[in-house]
Amino acid sequence: MSRPVAVTINGRRYHADVEARTLLSDFIRHVAGLTGTKVGCEHGVCGACTVQLDEEPVRSCLMLAVQADGRTVRTVEALARGDELHPLQAAFSEAHALQCGFCTPGFLMSLDAFLRERPDPDEGEIREALAGNLCRCTGYTAMVEAVLLAAERLRPAPR
């Protein structure tokens, strides 16, 4: 049994008739064609599918697409402006905070929300913020450095 669903993703509205059991992660990838969001464990542990729902980080594999009807979603595709990387993305690249990149979109969407709430985090808070996403390549040390770097660049310069 299908239902009409309309979700605003990165400022654009996507309409489709979907089954109630369709996961938000699959709506994002298959209906909207935004394949930056990755699907890893599909049970809320790995964090690869993390997106923002009305600015809050959520696991898109633990939501039904019908639950996002009328809501606003941001995915990793919303970060860069054209060819210009978001400060978090640039910092990840410079600090070598990724290798294969599969987990990176989830980390970025978690961290983008985290830095909005904590613009001046210490290392302990950053480690806690990283804990909800898994990376199997790099380990997390370079990511801590990347977040410190991005936080510094994102803060307004002192007058």
């Binding site: 049994m1 059991r21 996961l23 049970h43 633990l62 804990a131």
Partner: protein, 288 residues
């Protein structure tokens, strides 16, 4: 994996929700924050034929104080509880525990009522709500009833909720002055399910002795169990280091897990209870 097909309702109000549960209760599963149910559906470990999604029942999402009690609407998100200045100031035990529930990406969706109704003995919120002697308000088309924690939590993942009943509100009484609380848990990885945990509430008398204490345990038994013998041993005493250690050992006797795990869990529960009590006593003395 993906969930098996199911019929789906997303009622907009409590009345409509109770009608749906009265009609379909036996076949329906209530979907709240989904942070435990969706993994079960994705793995097809649960295959309900119908979901009643309460996420659009806005009247169940609130956090307010009335008559001195904290009233938590069942649909209140864990993140809302975590960010509430009222909770931080008046019920710090809730804040201390909710920060250990999963990760921010889970707390943004997971609900207080969902955690209670799911009744995972390793969950933090049922244990701290039990330690605060909360009352759980249930509603159905047949009427309403209110249960205490020991009536509500039956065993692993099982509550006294009937198929047509919905948990609508959790009511938390205020802490007396001269009270201190603490929650301590151990998990192998931050944000993982706890291997053990303890919540402690200590109320001091005017002379500084223990007027009463409440201790509840996480992941120690099929329910968020109360360590009554430990509580009785503490009441009336002067809360010495040895007294707290002895009470912690009594709490460890409540551990009810398979035999192979028992010695480790007992040692863990004893140590975590000791730490929770020490912290609660320090905080009670600061408050007094």
């Amino acid at each position: 994996m993906k969930p098996a097909p199911f019929a789906y309702d997303d009622p907009r109000g409590l009345d409509e929700t109770l009608d749906l549960l009265a009609r379909h209760g036996e076949d329906a599963k209530v979907l709240a924050g989904g942070q435990s149910l969706l993994p079960l559906l994705n793995f097809r470990l649960a295959r309900p034929t119908r979901l009643v999604d309460v996420n659009r029942v806005d009247e169940l999402a609130y956090l307010r104080r009335r008559g001195g009690n904290l009233r938590i609407g069942a649909l209140t998100r864990a993140a809302t509880l975590e960010r509430s200045p009222l909770v931080a100031a008046e019920w710090p035990l809730l804040r201390e525990a909710v920060r250990l529930v999963g990760h921010p990406q889970i707390r943004s969706r997971g609900t207080v009522g969902g955690s209670v109704a799911h009744a995972d003995p390793a969950a933090e919120l049922p244990a701290v709500l039990a330690a605060l002697e909360s009352r759980f308000h249930l509603r159905s088309r047949r009427g309403g009833r209110t249960l205490g924690p020991e009536e509500l939590f039956v065993t692993h993942l099982t509550t006294a909720l009937a198929p047509d009943e919905l948990l609508v509100e959790i009511e938390v009484p205020p802490l007396p002055s001269r009270a201190g609380t603490a929650f301590v848990e151990y998990a192998r990885v931050h944000g993982d399910f706890a291997l053990g945990g303890a919540a402690a509430v200590v109320v001091l008398g005017e002379d500084g002795t223990c007027e009463r204490a409440v201790v509840t345990l996480v992941a120690a038994a099929p329910t968020p169990v109360r360590a009554r013998e430990a509580e009785e041993a503490l009441a009336g005493g002067s809360l010495t280091e040895e007294g707290i250690r002895a009470a912690a050992d009594l709490a460890a006797a409540e551990v009810d897990v398979p035999e192979a795990e028992r010695p480790y869990r007992r040692a863990l529960v004893s140590e975590l209870t000791r730490r929770a009590l020490e912290r609660a006593v320090t905080r009670a003395r600061e408050a007094a």
